[in-house]
């Protein structure tokens, strides 16, 4: 089942490979079907998921699967390393509370991404092949429980992304694409070293062989004492943790490794921005939760404070940068940086409230930011510009659009009743409750105000008041005296059309529902998070 949800897009990609590139509609429909299939599977998985099982590490009764669900585990590579012994790589996938939410998110976002890719005309075939490859890789990262498998998916993600930005992107796309590629690769290659180091340091309790299984790695008793990353080798463990952390932090992106993000977003086409902000950024924090922290708990304990500080920097720094942007999309990009800061802060708290908040924030940021980028795309399609000061008074002429923007914007600034609020609140609750990060939390709260500031300001400049001189559209008064606006070379519907609504409305509904009753997602998280906190935290517990 999981395999199916992972490889469905690739299958679609292969089908598309056979379709002649002139048949654009068929290609689109095939990928849409694949995405919807993913969605259906995700719902099924969600339905059958048992939230009581924690996952995270091997379950006490020693079953190597841990209490993961939908586990599929087949030996993949079984070979003999000369003078070292067997090298076992498994095709080992499964979900626990942490990953299932991300699986659902990924299915959702990639389906919406396909919809928003509909208008793309340039090399449709190539586009959707790469898109499906990307979708598979993302999904794979979230379900992989074997470090090797995870790494493969992780790296496979880069190339399609490079081309998707580089070929279908904006004017400065080459720069953005290669920047993204180099930055992320720089982060991940060191992960390779750590991965090998871990392999040599960990043995599977059952077979006694070395293993790549993350589940085994998350249990400290499986480490060989004097191995390179064994408990005795404190220094290297710290180094490994930092290296891994930087690798993931680049994806998050965490200050000061964030500069690829604004470029990538500004250049990328709308669907890719949606994917990028909606899913890829989550991979960074997901990696931290799945790999970085449980494998090196004691280092995490020592590093909580630093991580928290970086989180706070992200929150406030991102908000300030967003405040200064003229380009709407760039503003949204920086807002993502700010919001991912909440995730970091929540993780750094190291207690259940904070981590649940962080996870929930990951989900919500996925949906909300997807919404934001889609909305930016809508106006960009019409006006061919994203300069905030090229608009004004839109609310009078595009009421539906304005309404949705208002909802999305308020969701993003954490208005109660919309999902973003709950996650941010939980993050603060957690961060404040933990003695380590209390003061950091007190500082980060400023983010709430500045977040509101840049969002409301942009809202006002674009939608309220009157049309500004030099705006990207003309005022036309039709014969019965009503005023309308007209965008240059845009013949489509002025306000949102059906396709755009089909993309946006589900997201809005999700945002509202999860804002009123979060348990559908939180319920799946809590068990795993509590387990994780247990794994992580003699120190944290003593603080409570």
């Amino acid at each position: 089942m999981l395999s199916l949800i992972v490889f469905l897009p690739i299958i679609a990609g292969l089908i598309i490979l056979a379709v002649p590139s002139s048949q654009k509609q068929i290609i689109r429909i095939v990928s849409l079907l694949a995405a919807l299939g993913q969605g259906v599977l995700a719902v099924l998985i969600w339905k059958d998921y048992n939230p009581a099982l924690p996952g995270i590490i091997a379950s006490p009764n020693g079953s190597p699967l841990g209490s993961f669900q939908f586990v599929e585990r087949v030996p993949w590579i079984n070979l003999d390393l000369a003078g070292f012994g067997p090298l076992n790589i498994e095709y080992f996938i499964g979900v626990d509370g942490i990953s299932i939410t991300m699986v659902i998110l990924t299915a959702l976002v990639s389906a919406i991404g396909v919809l928003s890719s509909w208008p793309i005309q340039k090399q449709v075939k190539g586009y959707f092949i790469l898109y499906n490859l990307l979708a598979t890789a993302m999904m794979g990262c979230f379900v992989a429980l074997d470090f090797f498998l995870f790494y493969v998916f992780w790296e496979v993600m880069l190339l399609p992304m490079y081309f998707l930005i580089g070929i279908w992107g904006g004017p400065n796309r080459e720069y953005a694409a290669i920047k993204f590629f180099l930055y992320t690769l720089f982060g991940s290659v060191f992960m390779l070293l750590v991965m090998i180091g871990l392999y040599f340091s960990v043995t599977d309790p059952i077979t006694g062989n070395h293993t790549f299984s993350l589940v085994a790695m998350a249990t400290q008793s499986n480490y060989i004492k004097d191995a390179i990353l064994g408990p005795d080798n404190v220094v290297w463990r710290y180094v490994a943790f930092i290296v891994l952390f930087i690798g993931f932090a680049i994806k998050v992106p965490m200050f000061p490794f964030h500069t690829w993000l604004p470029d990538a977003h500004v250049e990328a086409p709308t669907p890719i921005s949606v994917i990028l902000a909606g899913v890829l950024l989550k991979l960074g924090t997901y990696g931290m939760i799945r790999i970085n922290f449980p494998l090196f708990p004691e280092v995490f304990q020592a590093g909580m404070y630093v991580i928290g500080i970086f989180g706070a920097i992200n929150i406030i720094y991102g908000a300030f940068c967003a405040l200064a942007q003229q380009d709407l999309k760039k503003m949204v990009a920086y807002s993502s940086i700010s919001h991912m800061g909440y995730v970091l802060l929540g993780l750094s708290a190291g207690n259940s409230e904070g981590m649940v908040g962080a996870l929930y924030q990951m989900f919500n940021h996925g949906t909300i930011t997807a919404m934001l980028f889609l909305l930016v795309g809508v106006i960009y399609d019409r006006a061919h510009t994203r300069q905030i000061d090229k608009f004004g008074g839109l609310a009078s002429y595009m009421p539906v659009y304005a309404g949705l923007v208002t909802v999305a914007w308020f969701a993003s600034l954490g208005l109660p009743g919309l999902s973003g609020f709950i996650s941010e609140a939980l993050v603060f609750v957690g961060a404040f409750s933990s003695v380590t990060t209390r003061y950091i939390a007190m500082v980060s709260v400023l983010g709430i105000v500045f977040g509101a500031a840049y969002l409301l300001w942009s809202l006002q400049r674009m939608f309220l008041g009157q049309r500004k001189p030099g705006a990207a559209y003309d005022l036309v008064t039709d014969d019965d005296g009503h005023q309308h606006i007209h965008f240059h070379d845009w013949n489509g519907k002025l306000d949102l059309d059906a396709r755009e609504l089909t993309m946006l409305v589900p997201l809005v509904i999700i945002t509202i529902v999860l804002g009123i009753y979060p348990m559908p997602i939180l319920g799946m998280l809590t068990a795993s998070i509590n387990k994780l906190v247990e794994v992580l935290s003699p120190v944290v517990l003593s603080q409570l």
Partner: protein, 512 residues
Amino acid sequence: MFELPSGAEIQSIIASLKASVGFFIPEIYLSLLFMLLIVIDLVIKSKKNILLSLITISGLAGSLFFIYQQHSLQSGELFFGMYVLDEFALFFKYFFVLSGILAVVVTMADEQFDREVKSMGEYYALIVSMVIGMIMMASSQDLLMIFLSMELVSFTAYILTGYFKKNQRSSEAALKYLVYGAVSSGLMVYGFSLIYGLTAQTNIIKIGIELAALGSHSSVVMMLASLLIITGFGYKIGAVPFHFWAPDVYEGAPTPITAYLSVASKAAGFALLMRFFYIAIPHSTVSWSSIVGIDWLTFLMILSVASMIYGNVVAIWQKNVKRLLAYSSIAHAGYLLLGLIVMGKLGTQATLFYLLSYFLVNFGAFYVVILIANKTGSENLDDYKGLGKTMPIAGAALTVFLISLVGLPPTVGFIGKLMIFSALLAKGSLYLWLAFIGIMTSVISLYYYMLIPLNMYLREPKQADNQQINLGVLPQLIMTVFMILTLYFGLFFTPLSDFSKYSSSLFGIILQ
């Protein structure tokens, strides 16, 4: 002063020669093939014709059968320890024969030959002889044998490099190659002579024993000798700082030969280096520095680090794809050396695996480059603009090969790097810094490798016509096969890895 051997001795000598011949069949077969080709060439005078190449391919393929036979044989010395047959040697026999076949295949695709040369006969013959030479390099266990086989390879390489007689760059490359090669092999021989002087032996196993006994005695001479020898080997594997010939030769030589040199003769060099390094240099139990003067490990580390950094960094600047790949091959020599440095079975396995992956990928890349050059008549980066649209399969294939050269999953190149780094880390944190440099440089390498897809896909072609260029069915098929193999072995690499493990046992030495 030299008394003649008695009849009995002569009998025994002849007997052992007879015995040895049984182990020598593939080489003999190939030599016959070599002559056959020359004869055929004499019989049918013609420009590049399909028949010759087919004969060559089939002939080389036939040799595989005899090589396969040798698995059943007990591994051992022959010709009085001059020559050895073991799994390690077998591995390279396959390797070289296959690379010879591929060289011919690539040559068939290259249309430049039609323009440049009249007769192709001795070309194929030379390729075969080069195969023989390399096979012998991989199996020789005596300084004399080493020298002879190296020269055999070098000479044929010189000629092949200069095969486009009308072509300035080709001839220039040949000259440079020749001068540089002659000097360095001369120095190597001088080093041999010193070793011989110190140990009175030419068989490297005996040399190893002698040196172990010698200890730190006359270490300066030893030092000089090893330096000179490394010069010779370093030139063969094209590692910094003995690489200078490589870029020019790779650029000037006919592209198939470039591919052939960059894979096969490099591999031969490594075979030789490994055998010599593992066997002749005593390292059995005692740590390295205990034998003063034979500080080979440090040499190799310097070589490897320098190659990785230099090759990758300078490649950033290249505009000519062939030259770019030349520099990348220098860098890859560095990575291969990493596996060597580890000095263990795992290291050997990793190196062999890396060689296999490099073999596959590099030939693929050069093949695509040739096909593109056939159509565009150029190997400059700028002329690659927009090729992604006009020749999609070629573009895709080349991208895959380049990704594999960077070492990204899911390609075989990634596994190669994985094995190398595993071998390094298996020694704990001892070689971590080497792994670190390797990682860093591979990030750099991504940059210049991606320049090619960048031009092919992200940029518009100069002339606006976007209709597809047809490369012909067979070449596209071959490209696809290469591409699929690259991906397949990237995901299911057990056979390759097992094969390289099986082959990682050298005769006369037990690696831990």
